[in-house]
Amino acid sequence: MSAIGGIVHPDGRPVDRAALDRMQALLAPYGRDAQQQWRQGPAGLLRTLLRVTPEDAFDRQPLAGPQGDVVVFDGCLDNRAELAAALGVAGTDLARLSDADLALRACLRWDTAAVDHLLGDFAIACWSPSRRRLWLARDAIGHRPLFWHRQDGLFAFASMPKALFAIPNVPRELCEERMADHLAMLPMVGPESMYRGIHRVEPGQQLVFQDDRVTTRHHYRLDPARELRLGSDSAYEEALAEHLERAVARCLRCAGPVASHLSAGFDSGVVTALAARQLAGREERLLAYTAVPREGYDLPVMPGRYADEWPGAHALATRFDNIDHLAIRSGDNALVDGLEKDTEAVDRPLVNLCNRTWDRAIRNDAQSRGVRLLLCAQGGNMTISHTGMDRLSTLFGHGHWRTWLDELLAVKRHHPHRRMRGLLAESIGPWLPQPLWRVLGRLQGRSAALAEYSAIHPEFARRMDVQERARAAGWDLSYRPSRDSRRLRVAVLGRRDPGEQMAMANLSGLQMRDPTRDRQLTEFCLALPAEQYLRHGQTRWLLRRVTGDLLPPSIWSTPGKGLQAADWHVSATASLPALRAMLAELEQHPTVGKIIDLQAMKHSLDQWPEEGWERRDVVLRFRGQLLRGLATGQFIRYVEPDNR
């Protein structure tokens, strides 16, 4: 894994070495093992390297071709063998070629079309001095970040925005529109980043800068219209099993110890189990981390959720001799401890302050043990473990009422903790007029207005026209179940660009990879027919059949889902003085109060409850609105620092 950056002056003036040095220094923590740069005339490229794969030992970037084309590459290629075959690279040579070498050869062979041949997690930049052309691209899902900025006489790019701010005259200002999207939890649509004038190369996008012009194209998009029809249920099973094995295998190319996040859920369970099995074949061990509440925590949590994921996770871990299972227990650290540092690490507002504490604890422990690769399963809900509940609404809406009723009753039988009212809402909701859905939701205490879960200032929301932005992004703020589940899942996958979060792990000397967001696995899962997900009342029907023996029965039989950081309110209550102090600092900032509803947050702090933490409205207000508001306020202060 690397971080990359570069500067090009279209007017031909030489590149500023000092600026490139500063960019390199800022990106060095993301690639601590090596830092190099290349400069020639009006262009300069750099990369910093974190050695993870065995072939990273041969990485000598920036790489120049015989015609002077120069490439910097950040990432891991998952199709090295196919690529080598297409490029005519012998197998013996392949072992000594870094991924960047292969990427360079692909660029020399296919020019800008090279990106169509690359599979994996990557961001790439290629400068052709003879054509005075620079092109940038990111992988399909956006696992590696890449940002760019353009002004008169300057085009610059970098893995993280902070490096772009090392260039004189690159403004560091908030992008208000993106702030509104973030606070309203809208999907990231378009190239805007959190900073005005700084754009992201979108996942699956290629950008070409030539003749002082920028053109873009999507070399890859997830296709929500595609449906895969196979001959039999067993064919689906075989296909999913193969995709899962391959996705995990791709992520396990690592020259050091491997670890994984392991909860009591299906996704991390499947990933951990498959990884353990594959590593056992290599006689390697797997370190599995499970975040658990503090000792003795037994308060009720939200309906349908449970607090302690250790039993389920441990049941899985004990099935594999090569898993070392570690519990990461909630500590006494204040929720906002280290918030500035983490905000700086990702260059964007943090989303979940509660999960941050255990996530950081896992990274720190993994770092101390020399782990190089950390597996996660953040995309599983939209891919392998999609419940398939949308089938109910499809059956209902298309008039297959008998089948719908059978399925509905079967779901209730298999999942008795689910309330019939909720199942009906999922079936009928998509077909109700939106105003009626809102009214019913309010009556049932189900739906919440934006102000109830978001800290966005009402005036700012009006000025930014959040409703219109949501409509343009295809996002329903009433959270009515979608008639088009695939489109919704694609939107959720694109809701937050995963690049910065993945890069954050590099600061701990780790590469983070998510097999559940593997491109081919994601394509496959999105294309599956709904009846492969929900059948005979069994949600995740296909996954159950494929991994039934892999996961312990307790994972399949436990009703509901684990709740990460279930005891968050204990930490939050202990952190109240710090939260109040932080809010007081935010109140003094000239910008924060215009974007965030600080009054509402202050009101929440004043009304801090002593119980009722299992209630949805309480969780939305205090864990959602308040804590996310504080994290966003901290980000605004980070972008526009002051001395108050």
Partner: protein, 532 residues
Amino acid sequence: MTIDSGTGREDLAGVAWARAFARTSAGAEPSVHLAGDPARSPRSRADAAAAFGRWHDAGMAGSFADRERPWYLLLELARVETLAGNELPGMRENLAPDAMHFPGDPATRLYRAARAIFAGDCAAPVLDLFSTRRRWTWPARRAAEHPVDVAAVLQQAGCVLAHADAFAAAVAPLVHALASGARDVGGAVFAALRSASADTPGPDDGDGADTGGSAHEARHRAERLGYRVYSRAWDRVLPAEVGSSRGVEPAIDAASAAQSRRLARRLQRRLREVQLRRWSFDLEEGHLDSRRLASLCNPGGARAVFRQERDASASGARVTFLVDQSGSMRGRAWQLAVQAIDLAVQALEACAVACEVLGYTTRYGADDDNPVLDAWVLAGRPDAPGRLNALEHRVYKAASCPWRHGRRAFVGALGAGRGRENIDGEALDWAASRLARQPGRRKVLVVFSDGTPHDEATVRHNGRALLENHLRSVIQAIEASPIDLAAIGTGQGVGRFYRTALTLDRPEDVDRMLFDHLADLLVRSGRREAMP
């Protein structure tokens, strides 16, 4: 820039200082003129400067509040010019009061009245000073509430022209009355005086050891970089003891002497490496220098092809630590800076490396009453005002002073009530100027900062780019100079501006990282020096 040693020398005092500086250094003659007075000839302006240099007592201004100071300085101007005219008849014509105009009629009239009375002419103009103009109605009423007989005050002051302290005491009631009732006029007076102050020279370390270059030079450097300062009238440089927290017990006493000694030994070992690598070239004897062998083949070539190793004492090195003392440095950042600098200075002293410890912030915070901002507002908010706050630079340890003198003040420097804004570009320029003037060839400037320069007033009315671009320009200039510049911060923010930046996260990083870094800087500097 002005000097304030804590005894109150202020503002136009710098003019005198500038002349003294110009006489004793090879620097250029400071250009002294008064804004709003374009009619004054260069000769007249030079005489005005000379008069200040000779008769102005800068210490008196400190006894007046910020708002009062313009009025006091106005009267002080009248005093010194009167004295100059009396003693040096040749100057009298050049300093004629009629040639002086301040924006704002009352100020001009007061100045002229004072000149007239000080010259012995107790005529009428003073008597209707507060009653003929509408804007003076309120001060007149205040004057009525707190009666001040202007003519009497000026006459009394005119009797003690030769004694600056007595003069200041005599005009004090009038100055108080004027300041309390006529802020707007005070602003106008200030505007007239400000460029004179702006020409005043740069900082002093408070013990006369080193001046660090003139504000004249600083201003021209700033202008070359496209940087503007609305006023330098309230800027000041303080020695450590002024306003220091004498009661604060250094929290860093826990940092044991043993640790300092250990770090010092480590540092010494690294510096010794440089000493061993110090060579003299083109000698008649010594080790043969293979790189010069070719010249032996040339009939007319040099025959001095030998080199010799010799000691390069570490004491030739100079290190300056410059610390951001703005509000954003409160807490952990400040604790780390204090810990790092205390250990570093002790270790460097043990290695006989001379070092300075300087601090920088502004005099006014974002929510404070800011007279620079007020003056700009009162002047009608002219476009592109430039920096709208006053600098406060502090010398905690001059190169020639032992650390124990300033250490306590340094530790408590960011206590309650301290820590305002940070205008990094000018602070760096100041510190680098001081360092450049010190003897020695190996110079290292280490900045402790959290990154971005910020002053609310300046940013609001100029945009962020003004301070940031100036900082970048100053850094570029320093990096092009023989000084090695490095920045240390608690976040990655410093990396945005500095080419050599180090991030300290935890107290243990100070030991582990800072000293390696410092040794690298000294070694690098030493190697460069040793190069032929």
